[in-house]
């Protein structure tokens, strides 16, 4: 599984530019599903048919990652940019990026080494990308091109670190479950969604098309276990977090109960999650059409939306076990 994780987290795929990561995921899931298609917004929808009269379950993991999009190429070939998704300028200075065509870049700050650089934080419009070009004409990328961050995947003992654990780790969990699940009474729609980071836009249209009777998002969540962290009752290594609420969604109480009792019955450690900032694809699924009971399994993650997002492999394995148990048993909400 770690090899698959490495391949997924190192792939390119900022919001709106998911075709490369989409092709990788399609290739991984194709042997395990009955139907596979891509919708108008680029969502990859993989259906594994159930054996009986179960539910239609949508399991959403988003393929897109936060990134930057070029807004201007100046005369000397430096690029100005805007964020795709929640990117803090604090995480950018000195970072490296890669574009769809392979072009690499370094992020510079106009104020670097100036006397006041130590006392203020960078603003987005003071930053630029240097791709080594010397003029606008010879710059290998242009306005509208998007880039993702470059960081190798690393393992620190049981901790895994990468640029896009959010949310490729969930893609890996979904694929692992899909490959090993055997039969299920339910029709399982594994959806690898687009444009989550800019407002859960892919999940919105995918849910409309699928009309699921139950929705589950798989996503990372923040933790409260680092030095002087904002208090939050989720820690790395204590199992998947069952979302009760975040700033965009109140999980369906029946779904929360189903997840917790299933975890307890299977002896899988889990935590309850209340997240004060951010939301997931579950928000879009829940309010699709006439409404869908929805919830979210969260993978605890440190340093979310930085180029070094950290998860615990034990949490990943327990998330696989929990999702598998949920998708193969009967459901009473």
């Amino acid at each position: 599984m770690k090899e698959m994780i490495k391949r997924l987290v190192e792939a390119y795929g900022p919001s709106g530019h998911e075709s490369t990561i989409g092709a990788i995921i399609s290739e991984m899931v194709r042997p395990h599903v009955d139907e596979l298609h891509t919708d108008a917004l680029g969502n990859i929808i993989a259906l594994k048919r159930g054996t009986g009269s179960g539910h239609a379950i949508m399991v959403a993991s988003h393929m897109d990652e936060i990134g930057l999009v070029v807004t201007w190429v100046d005369e000397k070939g430096f690029l100005r940019f805007a964020a795709t998704g929640g990117v803090s300028p604090v995480t950018l200075v000195g970072g490296r990026v890669r574009f769809a065509n392979g072009t690499l870049g370094v992020i510079g700050w106009e104020r670097w080494m100036r006397p006041d650089a130590g006392t203020r934080r960078p603003e987005m419009d003071e930053l630029y990308i240097d791709v080594g070009a010397t003029s606008r004409e010879t710059c290998p990328v242009g306005v509208g091109d998007a880039c993702g961050f470059v960081r190798p995947y690393e393992e620190f003992g049981t901790r895994l670190v990468a640029k896009s654990m959010d949310d490729r780790i969930a893609c890996a969990i979904a694929i692992e479950v899909l490959a090993g699940i055997g039969s299920s009474p339910h029709d399982l729609y594994f959806v690898f969604t687009t444009q989550e980071e800019v407002g859960t836009r892919g999940a919105l249209t995918a849910a409309y098309g699928i009309e699921p009777t139950v929705g589950i998002a798989l996503d990372v969540t923040m933790v409260g276990d680092t030095p002087k962290a904002r208090p939050m009752a989720v820690s790395l290594g204590e199992g998947p977090a069952i979302k009760v609420m975040d700033s965009g969604m109140l999980a369906h109480p029946g779904v929360v109960r189903w997840m917790i009792t299933t975890a307890e019955a299977a002896g899988i450690p889990c935590q309850r999650e209340v997240l004060l900032g951010g939301s997931t694809d579950a928000r879009a699924i829940q309010t699709s059409r006439a409404g869908v009971p929805a919830g979210c399994i969260s993978i605890p993650c440190r340093y979310v939306h930085t180029p070094s997002e950290m998860v615990d492999f034990g949490d990943v394995e327990h998330s696989v076990a929990l999702l598998k148990a949920l998708l193969t048993g009967p459901i009473a909400l």
């Binding site: 919001s15 709106g16 530019h17 075709s19 919708d39 108008a40 917004l41 969502n43 999009v69 807004t71 201007w72 100046d74 005369e75 100005r80 805007a82 964020a83 795709t84 419009d125 306005v143 509208g144 444009q195 800019v198 836009r201 892919g202 919105l204 249209t205 995918a206 409309y208 098309g209």
Partner: protein
């Protein structure tokens, strides 16, 4: 010229009737049928005029331009005869001071009063005015007098007469409501052409308060793809000449193509198609070089199972102010670009 008549029609979000009438009159001879839906969208249908190439199905294309303009709404009548007001759509307080307005259906003239410079303390002169207590003065001297002229809920438009400047150069024009009567004028022009596409030209309502009209129109039409036509930010004046960083658009450089704004990310296939036809036909064009603002594409692209969408806009200086400015050359080039795209889309969206 359609644009002149369109800009002078009064149609603040939620009250687009007068603008709709003027637009319908301009387009009715070029469409097969039209409806006005529950939210006030004017939905015009023009069936394919030629069979689709190679016997394929003609794609259903939605073109959207919003009829509504930013403005004000009367919230109360004061004992001194003045009118309290709220803003409809995004308006910076700084542009309101001393502007002339027209109130209600009968277009009662008024002014947004503000103390003269003599009474502004020196310490406050370099600060934005506090418009929370500003009122509209319609010349009434007491409540009863004002009540004869206006009522709470009356919509208020800015006065922004049409003027033509630089007629032999950029063909610049100035008027209120160029955002988005410019898009409406482009769309009206496009309707005069014949296409092998199933065309739904929608003049949308309530864009300025959250793309509300486009959402329900797209749900009704369920298009295969959509193009929103807009007037967009143009910040080339005033601007420091040495500042080589992300201008949004420049007047006279052609239609602005959006790759991403706050409401949506453009479909790459449509983006590449627009760039391709612009190059092939030698139509000047530019990117909207900032991720700012939102358009009807934001609502349309997440309708139903999803709709590939893009926005093409006429660069417009001073948008969301009582008066704005654009180049008719840019407007003509916008018509040419979208027309060329419609021809290129006759076989559907390329993969």
């Amino acid at each position: 010229m359609n644009l002149q008549a369109f800009t002078q029609a009064r149609g603040v979000s939620g009250n687009e009737g007068a603008a709709r009438e003027v637009i319908l009159k301009a387009v009715q001879d070029h469409i097969d049928e039209h409806i006005v839906d529950a939210l006030g969208n004017l939905i015009c249908h023009k069936r394919p005029r030629r069979p689709a190439p190679e016997g394929g199905r003609a794609p259903r294309i939605m073109l959207a331009a919003h009829m509504d303009e930013i403005g004000l709404i009367v919230t109360g009548i004061n004992s001194d005869g003045s009118l309290s007001f709220g803003k409809v759509g995004g308006i910076d307080d700084r542009v309101l001071v001393s502007k002339q307005v027209l109130v209600g259906e009968s277009a009662v003239p008024g002014v947004i009063g503000y103390p003269p410079i003599h009474l502004i303390p020196r310490s406050e002169r370099d600060r934005a005015p506090d418009m929370t207590k500003a009122v509209i003065d319609i010349g009434a001297t007491d409540k009863a007098g004002a009540e004869k002229l206006a009522s709470p809920g009356d919509y208020v438009t800015f006065r922004g007469e049409w003027a033509e400047l630089d007629p032999t150069g950029q063909r610049t024009v100035m008027a209120k409501a160029l955002d988005d009567r410019a898009g409406c004028a482009v769309l009206a022009e496009l309707l005069q052409g014949d296409y092998a596409v199933d065309l739904y030209a929608v003049f949308t309502a309530q864009e300025e308060v959250g793309t509300r009209g486009a959402r329900v129109a797209a749900a009704r039409i369920a298009p295969d793809l959509a193009i929103a036509l807009e007037g967009t930010i143009c910040d080339d004046l005033p601007r420091l000449p040495e500042d080589d960083t992300s201008p949004v658009t420049r007047l006279g450089d052609g239609p602005a193509i959006t790759f991403m704004d706050r409401s949506f990310i453009a479909d790459r296939r449509l983006l590449n198609l627009l760039l391709r036809v612009a190059e092939a036909k030698g139509i000047p064009h530019q990117f909207k070089s900032a991720v700012a603002g939102g358009t009807d594409s934001g609502a349309i692209h997440v309708t139903g199972g999803g709709v590939p969408s893009i926005t093409v806009a006429v660069p417009t200086r001073y948008i969301h102010a009582p008066i704005s400015m654009l180049s008719l050359k840019d407007l003509d080039h916008t018509v040419q670009l979208v027309q060329a795209a419609l021809y290129a889309l006759e076989g559907g969206l390329p993969s």
